[in-house]
């Protein structure tokens, strides 16, 4: 993807961010501190990638925004989450969806015993009764043609890729202002990952949906994103333009697997990692 396309949706840095997290702390079960003063901004119309290793707190960050922490005994203990000028931390999940933030959970999580069509209707739950929504599904089928042929089938019998498309289609049905995507590439073949990310970029530009994307696959995430942030142990340790991040030596080393010193033994890498932690 070229630099020009990547910046296509940038609306200029002077506008206030659509979403801002300021010094957010999240505690699970009243004892386990997972986010330790996380700050992050996402500008309207952008795709922002949130990267980091396992356990860095990426999923927790998304759930803190979408209000899904309650059900896991987590809570935002400190800091603010501001969406479109309004503080939303601690709000019920369904009110946050009504405000226009829709999280696509990790692992697809389609409703197995509902048909594809019914799954899409469930996605539009906050938009009232189904009149008019059937036409809406056509828009989803336009982005994900593979779903069109299977609209009457139970979602449990779809392939992994189709289920991921359905999970994204459900989000589209809600017509959100912002989508939070948790690992959309998980468990999918590389070809499919490419195609899903291309579609994500299309959705971002054509629907004007801002996207915050959590990914293990840093290469593909940075290739579609406008901006990126890297998390470690509950904080953002590096953020910037996606192009800058992709060019950063440390990011190459740890997240893109492109270290310039040739292959090293695992032990060396571990040693190096210890020394090179951004925060300790």
């Amino acid at each position: 993807m070229t630099e020009g396309v990547r910046r296509g949706a940038d609306v200029g840095s002077a506008a206030p961010p659509l979403l801002g997290l300021n010094n957010v702390e999240v505690l699970y079960d009243d004892v386990i501190l997972v986010l330790r003063g996380l700050s992050l901004e996402v500008k309207e119309g952008q795709i922002a990638a949130l990267l980091g290793s396992n356990g860095a707190g990426k999923t927790t960050t998304l759930k803190a925004i979408s209000g899904l922490l309650h059900v896991e005994d987590g809570e935002v203990r400190d800091g603010t989450i501001v969406f479109d000028g309004e503080e939303i931390q601690g709000m019920d999940a369904h009110r946050i969806v009504e405000k226009g933030i829709f999280q696509v959970l990790e692992g697809r999580r389609v409703f197995e015993h509902l048909t594809v069509f019914e799954n899409l209707l469930a996605g539009a739950h906050t938009r009232g009764e189904r009149r008019g929504l059937e036409a809406e599904t056509e828009r989803v089928y336009d982005y994900f043609p593979a779903l069109a042929a299977r609209r009457g089938q139970l979602a449990g019998y779809l392939s992994g890729g189709e289920q991921q498309m359905l999970a994204l289609g459900r989000a589209l049905m809600a017509s959100p202002r912002m989508m939070l995507l948790d690992e959309p590439s998980l468990g999918l073949a590389p070809m499919l990952v490419e195609s899903i990310f291309t579609t994500l970029r299309r959705i971002n530009r054509e629907e004007g949906v801002t996207i915050l994307l959590v990914e293990q696959n840093a290469r593909i995430a940075l290739s579609v994103a406008d901006a990126g942030a890297i998390m470690e142990r509950g904080r953002v340790v590096l953020e910037g333009d996606a192009g800058e991040l992709a060019a950063n030596e440390d990011v190459k080393e740890f997240y893109l697997g492109l270290g310039d010193g040739g292959r090293r033994s695992y032990r060396d890498v571990k040693h190096y990692r210890r020394r090179k932690r951004w925060l300790s």
């Binding site: 979408s66 899904l68 059900v71 019920d92 999940a93 369904h94 946050i96 969806v97 009504e98 829709f102 999280q103 696509v104 959970l105 999580r109 389609v110 409703f111 197995e112 015993h113 509902l114 019914e118 799954n119 209707l121 469930a122 996605g123 739950h125 906050t126 009232g128 009764e129 189904r130 139970l154 449990g156 019998y157 992994g160 459900r170 809600a174």
Partner: protein, 290 residues
């Protein structure tokens, strides 16, 4: 032959009352995976509520029925709010245990208010007889069949086509994913309990006319379990078929084989079905992708 026809109508009408009570159980199970052991007591409550609303207050039956349904919904919402909502997020088994306790509480309260003696109650359904060829059939029994089927069809429609119906099935599949779509779980559980109470109360109203109002009606509520297990715990259509089969088996066996056995047969059927089809005839299977 006329006896057979009479037995069939009588079996079907009781069967449809079972189906109404069972449908309430299905609604709650579909929305929350909770098996409501108090469903039979909601049926019993329905018979007493209609007795109260029509016989005790002296209201015309149309208003009385309306009052019955309103009271039933109020009780169900109170139960959902006070007893079940605090348990959302706890293991399902604790909620199921609570419904067993709820069953005793409902019976106790009904006993405390209306006492242990049977009460007489005139059904609002016309009490006459219909002649079908050689057979004469009690009108109220015949009429109860289409009424029950209409209510059950309404419930089926609700699940297939309405926003809350789809939300309920979504919650049963994956609560967290449902939350992430902005589905409010307390609201949907409230709707489920309300519907369960309405369908049980309609069953109770018909039962009050057909067999009367007494604490023994509670034992009819137990039939709900063979019915739903036969039909499948999460299928309204299954509840209709299960109700019909159990209702018919009871009268046929009671008449042709011998009294007493009809009380046992539903449970024999239950065991057989569990051996052959553990999900019931129409239950949803666990989907495994390979």
């Amino acid at each position: 032959m006329d006896i057979f026809l009479q037995l069939t109508v009588s079996g079907l009408s009781t069967g449809m009352i079972y189906a109404l009570a069972a449908a309430g159980l299905v609604v709650i199970y579909k929305a929350s995976d909770v098996i409501n052991f108090a469903q039979g007591d909601l049926l019993l409550l329905g018979t007493y509520l209609v007795f109260f609303s029509v016989a005790q207050t002296g209201l015309p039956w149309s208003l009385g029925v309306l009052l019955t349904l309103l009271l039933a919904v109020a009780v169900a919402l109170a139960v959902e709010r006070l007893v079940l909502r605090p348990l959302v997020g706890e293991p399902i088994i604790s909620m199921i245990m609570v419904t067993i306790g709820l069953s005793s509480v409902l019976r106790g309260v009904i006993g405390a208010i209306w006492g242990p003696n049977p009460r007489s109650f005139d059904s609002f359904l016309p009490a006459g007889e219909l002649a079908f060829g050689p057979a004469t059939l009690a009108t109220d029994r015949v009429l109860s069949i289409p009424i029950a089927l209409a209510v059950l069809a309404g419930l089926g429609f609700f699940f297939r086509f309405t926003r809350d119906g789809i939300a309920m099935r979504a919650i049963a599949d994956d609560q967290q994913a449902a939350l992430s779509m902005g589905i409010s779980i307390p609201r949907v559980f409230g709707v489920a309990w309300g519907l369960a109470a309405v369908s049980a109360a309609i069953g109770g109203i018909m039962l009050a006319g057909i067999v009367g109002v007494s604490p023994n009606v509670g034992s009819i509520g137990l039939r709900v379990f063979p019915v739903v297990i036969l039909g499948g715990l999460d299928s309204i259509g299954g509840a209709v078929l299960g109700g019909a089969v159990i209702g018919l088996l009871e009268v046929y066996i009671g008449f042709y084989v011998g009294h007493g056995l009809n009380l046992v047969v539903p449970y024999v059927v239950l065991v057989l079905v569990l051996m052959i089809r553990p999900y019931g005839l129409f239950g949803k299977e666990v989907i495994e992708r390979v």
